[in-house]
């Protein structure tokens, strides 16, 4: 451990920008970015599945509100949504006195809400497409077995729809990681926030931003690898034999 420490100190010696102190900002930023993206993706996914089913419903009072929601959140920039949720809410009279303020005071939760609603809207549309593309033969077979709609959804449609949605969803995860870079406009010290801080402090745009770009590349590589593994496992039946 001591050796490692000495090696690290040697490595940083003579480097004015990347001191242990600034690397600490990057490390905190990495933790914040990963938390923010991971949580918003998980919650967004949980919201998206029922909405994707509802989006394909034939009842207009289920179908149209969900359509309206996805239309609004896919139709406006994420930055605007974040501004409205963070700065806009304070214009509601007396909001500081309600329990909502506990959530909205710190920048983390407004950003989490904006990211979650945004990714849920895109994911809903991805899943809806996958559900719609279910082979009609499978549905007819399920009906012939006398399955109820719910059982058919659970056993036949959703499992195959998830598999079909996997590549598109992997893209959405990467987009979300990159979109999270705007969190720094509401004072969150995420990865981009740390890079902007280091840049502003040392007037060294190349060093600060190239370093952070490398971290984003590593994260993206991890996501790509995970989805490639999942596709290989879950879509094995679609590959030619041998």
């Amino acid at each position: 451990m001591q050796q490692l420490n000495a090696w690290f100190t040697d490595l940083l010696a003579g480097n004015e920008i990347f001191t242990a102190n600034t690397l600490g900002y990057y490390a905190d930023g990495l933790a914040t970015t990963v938390q923010l993206v991971f949580l918003s993706l998980i919650i967004g996914l949980l919201l998206a599945v029922p909405m994707a089913i509802g989006r394909g419903s034939s009842r207009p009072w289920i179908k149209w509100p969900i359509f309206f929601y996805t239309y609004v959140f896919r139709g406006t920039p994420l930055l605007i949504q974040l501004y409205i949720i963070y700065y806009g809410v304070v214009f509601v009279e007396g909001i500081q006195d309600t329990w909502l303020w506990l959530i909205l005071e710190e920048p983390f939760y407004p950003a989490l809400i904006a990211f979650t609603l945004n990714t849920a809207a895109y994911t809903t549309e991805i899943f809806r497409g996958a559900i719609k593309a279910t082979n009609k033969g499978e549905i007819e077979a399920a009906r012939a077995y006398g399955m109820s709609r719910a059982k058919m959804m659970r056993r036949i449609i959703l499992p195959s729809a998830f598999r079909r949605a996997l590549p598109a969803y992997g893209n959405e995860v990467i987009f979300m990681l990159h979109a999270s870079a705007i969190a720094s406009v509401v004072t969150i010290m995420d990865l981009t926030g740390a890079a902007r801080f280091v840049y502003a402090r040392f007037y060294a745009p190349f060093d600060a931003f190239l370093f952070v770009a490398a971290i984003y590349l590593c994260l993206t590589f991890g996501i790509l690898y995970l989805f490639r593994y999942l596709e290989k496992r879950l879509l094995a039946h679609l590959r030619p034999q041998n």
Partner: protein, 256 residues
């Protein structure tokens, strides 16, 4: 013959070059809004202490000047990549910046100050009182550097892209205290929300390591002639009373 021709061409090109340099307007970069140093009137016109002084300087030198609005984050790289020829945007002279740009003589020395809501129980900006509080600063300013180094380990330093965003968060109770150039805090907090905000801890101008030598106009290192012209003009304006006139207009009669 060929040699003569190319020499003539070269000479002509050089002549054209100098002629062009004389006609060219000097572009000054400014980051707005930063009241009362630089901001827009409701009519869209740029105004403020820097703008008026800058125009007076250009008139004194006898050149045409044009203002370019540029965000603070990229204001020095923009100068170095020749998007404009000078920065006159409340930029504090310090050693870090001196490595990148050439500064004029200081034209104004503003103090920094801590601002809190009038109802706040913070009485001094001592380290113990600010423990666990949220401090607002504008990203990349000397106040950011100072607050980060002095209070970063005990308080939550929040960095904003514009002073406007920070004031909004101060008004909505997200911040306990903000650290700003005094003139900016005065016009955005003290004057606009009468009685709702106050200064704690007085005017802060030390240590020099952070607060530097006042505001200067920044030029590219090699534009020494241009910087000299501005320095001479500044000296003239201070002598003939124009400087005091503009100063009076924006900061009342109390000279900091």
């Amino acid at each position: 013959m060929k040699k003569l021709l190319s020499a003539t061409l070269l000479g002509a090109a050089l002549l054209a070059g100098t002629a062009q340099a004389q006609d060219e307007t000097v572009r000054l970069a400014v980051d707005i809004p930063y009241e009362p140093m630089e901001y827009r009137l409701p009519s869209g016109e740029l105004t403020g202490f820097d703008i008026e002084l800058g125009n007076a300087l250009c008139a004194e030198i006898g050149i045409d000047c044009e203002w370019v609005v540029q965000g603070w984050d990229g204001i020095i790289p923009g100068l170095l990549s020749r998007k404009y020829d000078a920065i006159m945007s409340s930029m504090t002279i310090n050693d870090q910046r001196r490595q990148q740009v050439l500064f004029s003589d200081p034209y104004f020395t503003p103090p920094s100050a801590w601002f809190v809501p009038a109802s706040s129980d913070i009485r001094t900006p001592a380290k113990e009182t600010l423990e666990g509080k949220s401090i607002g600063v504008q990203r990349g300013t000397l106040q950011d550097n100072y607050a980060t180094d002095m209070y970063g380990d005990v308080a939550n330093v929040k960095r904003y892209s514009t002073a406007g965003d920070m004031v909004l968060d101060m008004e909505s109770d997200r911040l306990d205290i903000v650290f700003l150039d005094f003139p900016v805090g005065k016009s955005t907090l003290l004057d606009s929300e009468e009685g709702n905000y106050k200064v704690v801890g007085g005017m802060i101008t030390e240590p020099k390591k952070y607060f530097g030598d006042g505001f200067g106009i920044a030029f590219r290192q090699r534009d020494e002639d241009l910087a000299q012209q501005f320095n001479d003009a500044l000296a003239t304006l201070k002598e003939n009373g124009t400087y005091d006139e503009i100063f009076e207009k924006y900061f009342g009669n109390k000279k900091q």
